[in-house]
C-alpha cells in the first residue's frame, strides 16, 4: 500500500514516486515526481511524454508479465541554461489491481561528466575522419563556367559507358586523378577497386612487376607469388597517371593487354583474363612524343578512344572564387576554423594570379592561409603566391595578333611605378634595373 508517508520517505532520498493504473492514469504522486513532470497532468504520457508508445509495455508491467522498464538520462531544461538529467524506472507493483510504480531521480552530475567525456571522444574521432578525407575531394568538378559545366556532363556521360578507354589531358595540378576517381565513382563499377599508378613515380625496373605481379621464383627476390595491380583492378578501374613516362617495352605489353584483355604474371606461362576500365592521363603532348618515337602510335590510338581536356585554373575566371571557398570550407572542417570568406582584395588577387600549379596550388595556398589564421575573412596578405608576380613568365605568350615590345615595356614601367607609389629606386629594383637605366627608359618614352 502506497501512502502519503511513503511518498514523503522517498522525498527524503530526492526521489519522485508515483503510482499508475494499467492505462497510465495517475493514482498517487509525491511532490518531487510532480516537480519533474513536463506538465501537470493525471496521465503518465503527459507527465513524461517519453512514455508515449510504451502503452503495451506499461500494461504488461501492470499485469506482472514484465518486471521493469527504465529510461536513462532524460534531458530536461534546467532552471538556468543547463540541462537536468533524470532516470525513470517503471516496476510491477503487486497489489490486488494492476498497477505500475514509477520512480524518477536526478543524475545530472554523472550525466555532465559523461557528456564532457563523450564530447571529447566524438570530437577526436570526427577530426580523424576529416583528416583522412582528401583535401581536394570533389574540387575538379566545382563551378558554373561553361568549361566546368561541359566537363561535368562529359564525365557523367562517359561514366555510364562501360569499360571505354579514356585519356585525360591537362596541365599538372588540374585534378586529372580526381576526374579519374569521379568517373569510377559514377560508373556501375563503383564498388569494385580503383587502382591508381603514377608511371613517373615508380622506378622503371619495379614498374613491370608492380603491374603484372609475379610467380614465386620468377626472379631472385620473388620468395612468394604476388598479384599485380592489373589483377587488383579486375572489374574496376585502372588509372595510369603520367602515361608518357611508361617505358617503350611496357607500352608494347600494355597494348597487348588492351587488345587481348589477357596478361601473364612474370615467371608464369598461364595467361589470365582481365576486365577493367582503363583511364590514362598526361600533361605532355603525346602526339608529339609519337613523332619523336618516344610513344607508340598504336597505343595512343587505343588509349585515346575518348579524350577529356581539363581546363587550366586561370581560364575558369569566377569559378576560381567558388573553388577557393570550397577549400575554405574544407579546411574549416579539417582545422576546426570558422572562416567565412575572402576580403575584396584577396578575391581580386585570386582572380588575377596565373595559377601555374592549378587547383593543387590553390588548395595549398588556402591551406597555408588558414592554418595559423583565425580571422573571419581571409585577407590578401594571408595569401602567399608561389610566383611573386601575378603572371608567371611561363604562361606569357604573344597574342595571335602580335604585340609591340615597346608597348609592353612602357606598360611594365608604369605598373612598377604605380606599385611603388612613384618611388623610382624601388621601381627599378622590381624590374631588375639600375636607377639610371630606369630613368633613361622613362625619358625615352616620355613617361
Amino acid at each position: 500500500m502506497i501512502t502519503k508517508s511513503t511518498g514523503y520517505l522517498f522525498e527524503l532520498r530526492d526521489t519522485g514516486l508515483a503510482l499508475f493504473d494499467e492505462n497510465g492514469t495517475l493514482l498517487f504522486s509525491n511532490n518531487i515526481f510532480r516537480r519533474y513532470c513536463r506538465q501537470p497532468s493525471s496521465l503518465l504520457n503527459e507527465c513524461f511524454p517519453e512514455t508515449v508508445g510504451l502503452e503495451e509495455i506499461i500494461r504488461k508491467i501492470a499485469r506482472g508479465h514484465q518486471k521493469t522498464f527504465y529510461i536513462e538520462n532524460i534531458n530536461r531544461p534546467g532552471k538556468k541554461k543547463d540541462a537536468v538529467y533524470l532516470n525513470l524506472s517503471l516496476h510491477h507493483f503487486a497489489s490486488s489491481a494492476a498497477q505500475v510504480v514509477c520512480f524518477v531521480w536526478e543524475v545530472t552530475s554523472e550525466a555532465i561528466l559523461k557528456q564532457r567525456f563523450v564530447q571529447k571522444e566524438n570530437e577526436i574521432s570526427l577530426l580523424k575522419t576529416r583528416l583522412a578525407a582528401k583535401s581536394s575531394e570533389g574540387s575538379a568538378l566545382i563551378g558554373h563556367s561553361k568549361k566546368v559545366e561541359t566537363l561535368r556532363t562529359t564525365v557523367v556521360q562517359i561514366a555510364q559507358i562501360p569499360n571505354i578507354n579514356i585519356l585525360l589531358r591537362g596541365e599538372s595540378g588540374t585534378g586529372k586523378n580526381l576526374i579519374a576517381r569521379e568517373i569510377h565513382t559514377l560508373s556501375s563499377n563503383a564498388r569494385k577497386p580503383f587502382i591508381e599508378i603514377n608511371c613517373a613515380a615508380i622506378p622503371e625496373h619495379l614498374l613491370e612487376s608492380e603491374l603484372f605481379g609475379y610467380e614465386k621464383g620468377a626472379f631472385t627476390n620473388a620468395a612468394a607469388s604476388k598479384k599485380g595491380l592489373l589483377e587488383e583492378a579486375h572489374e574496376g578501374t585502372l588509372f595510369l597517371d603520367e602515361i608518357a613516362e611508361l617505358p617503350l617495352a611496357l607500352q608494347a605489353k600494355l597494348l597487348h593487354i588492351i587488345e587481348s584483355r589477357r596478361f601473364r604474371r612474370l615467371g608464369s606461362n598461364r595467361e589470365q583474363q582481365v576486365e577493367f576500365r582503363l583511364i590514362t592521363a598526361s600533361n605532355k603532348n603525346l602526339q608529339q612524343l609519337v613523332s619523336e618515337k618516344k610513344f607508340r602510335e598504336d597505343l595512343l590510338f587505343r588509349l585515346n578512344v575518348v579524350q577529356i581536356e581539363l581546363p587550366p585554373l586561370r581560364s575558369l575566371e569566377e569559378d576560381i572564387l567558388l573553388l577557393a571557398e570550397h577549400f575554405m570550407h574544407l579546411f574549416n572542417l579539417r582545422f576546426n576554423k570558422k572562416a567565412e570568406g575572402f576580403t575584396k582584395d584577396a578575391r581580386q588577387a585570386l582572380l588575377e594570379y596565373s595559377w601555374p600549379g592549378n587547383v593543387r596550388e590553390l588548395s595549398n595556398l588556402i591551406e597555408r592561409a588558414m592554418i595559423f589564421n583565425n580571422a573571419k575573412y581571409i585577407k590578401k596578405d594571408d595569401l602567399v603566391f608561389q610566383s611573386g608576380t601575378t603572371s608567371d613568365a611561363k604562361t606569357w605568350s604573344v597574342p595571335d595578333g602580335g604585340i609591340k615590345l615597346e608597348e609592353v615595356e612602357q606598360k611594365l614601367l608604369l605598373s612598377a611605378l604605380s606599385k611603388t607609389n612613384g618611388n623610382k629606386a624601388r621601381a627599378a629594383q622590381l624590374l631588375g634595373l639600375t636607377r639610371d637605366t630606369l630613368r633613361y627608359r622613362l625619358e625615352k618614352y616620355k613617361l
Binding site: 504520457n45 511524454p49 517519453e50 508515449v52 508508445g53 510504451l54 502503452e55 503495451e56 509495455i57 522498464f69 527504465y70 529510461i71 536513462e72 538520462n73 532524460i74 534531458n75 540541462a83 538529467y85 550525466a111 559523461k114 557528456q115 563523450v118 564530447q119 566524438n122 570530437e123 574521432s125 570526427l126 575522419t129 578525407a133 570533389g138 568538378l141 566545382i142 561535368r152 557523367v156 569521379e182 565513382t185 559514377l186 563503383a190 570550397h326 570550407h329 572542417l333 570558422k338
Partner: protein, 166 residues
C-alpha cells in the same frame, strides 16, 4: 479530429546532424557548434500529412547508437517511425547507419522509415556526391531526402513524408 501521439526516433552516428535536424524542424534555428547529446532529449511538434491527419510527434534525439545496450533498446522501444541520417561529408556514417537500422528493426519491425542525407550545403550535389547515399536508400526501399539543416533544405519535407507513412 483527435491528435494522434507518435514516437519518432532519429537514428544515425554521432555528429551527422540529428540534433540539428530536430532544432531546425522544431525551433527553425541552427547552431554551428557541436554539443554531443547525452541520453535522450525529446521535442514535440504537430505534423499533418497530406490527408490532414494530425500527429503530435514526440521526436527522440538519442545519443549512443554505436552500442546496442539495454538502455538503447529501451530508447528505441515503441517507436512508430524513424528518420535515418547519414552525413554526406562522411561516407563512414552510412556504413554505421546500416547496422543501426538492422538493430532498430529487431525492436520495431513495423516502424515507418525515411532516410535523410545531411549537410548538403557542404558538398557539391551537382557533381553526384550523393549517389552512394541515394543508392543505399533505394537498395533499402526507403524514401530519401538530401537535406541541409543549415540552409533549411528538405527538413520539414522529411518529417511530413514520415507522417504520410504512419
Amino acid at each position: 479530429m483527435a491528435v494522434i501521439k507518435k514516437k519518432i526516433c532519429l537514428l544515425g552516428s554521432f555528429g551527422v546532424g540529428k540534433t540539428s535536424l530536430i532544432r531546425r524542424f522544431v525551433l527553425n534555428s541552427f547552431e554551428e557548434s557541436y554539443l554531443t547529446t547525452i541520453g535522450v532529449n525529446i521535442s514535440r511538434k504537430r505534423v499533418s500529412d497530406s490527408n490532414e491527419t494530425e500527429y503530435d510527434f514526440l521526436i527522440w534525439d538519442i545519443e549512443g547508437h554505436e552500442k546496442f545496450s539495454q538502455a538503447i533498446q529501451n530508447y528505441y522501444a515503441g517507436s512508430a517511425g524513424a528518420i535515418l541520417t547519414a552525413d554526406l561529408t562522411r561516407p563512414d556514417s552510412l556504413t554505421h547507419l546500416s547496422s543501426i537500422l538492422t538493430r532498430f528493426k529487431t525492436i520495431n519491425p513495423e516502424a515507418s522509415l525515411v532516410f535523410c542525407a545531411t549537410k548538403s550545403d557542404l558538398v557539391d550535389v551537382s557533381a553526384g556526391v550523393q549517389k552512394t547515399y541515394t543508392d543505399w536508400a533505394k537498395d533499402n526501399k526507403l524514401p530519401y531526402f538530401i537535406t541541409s539543416a543549415k540552409e533549411n533544405n528538405n527538413v520539414e519535407e522529411s518529417f511530413i513524408a514520415l507522417a504520410g507513412l504512419l
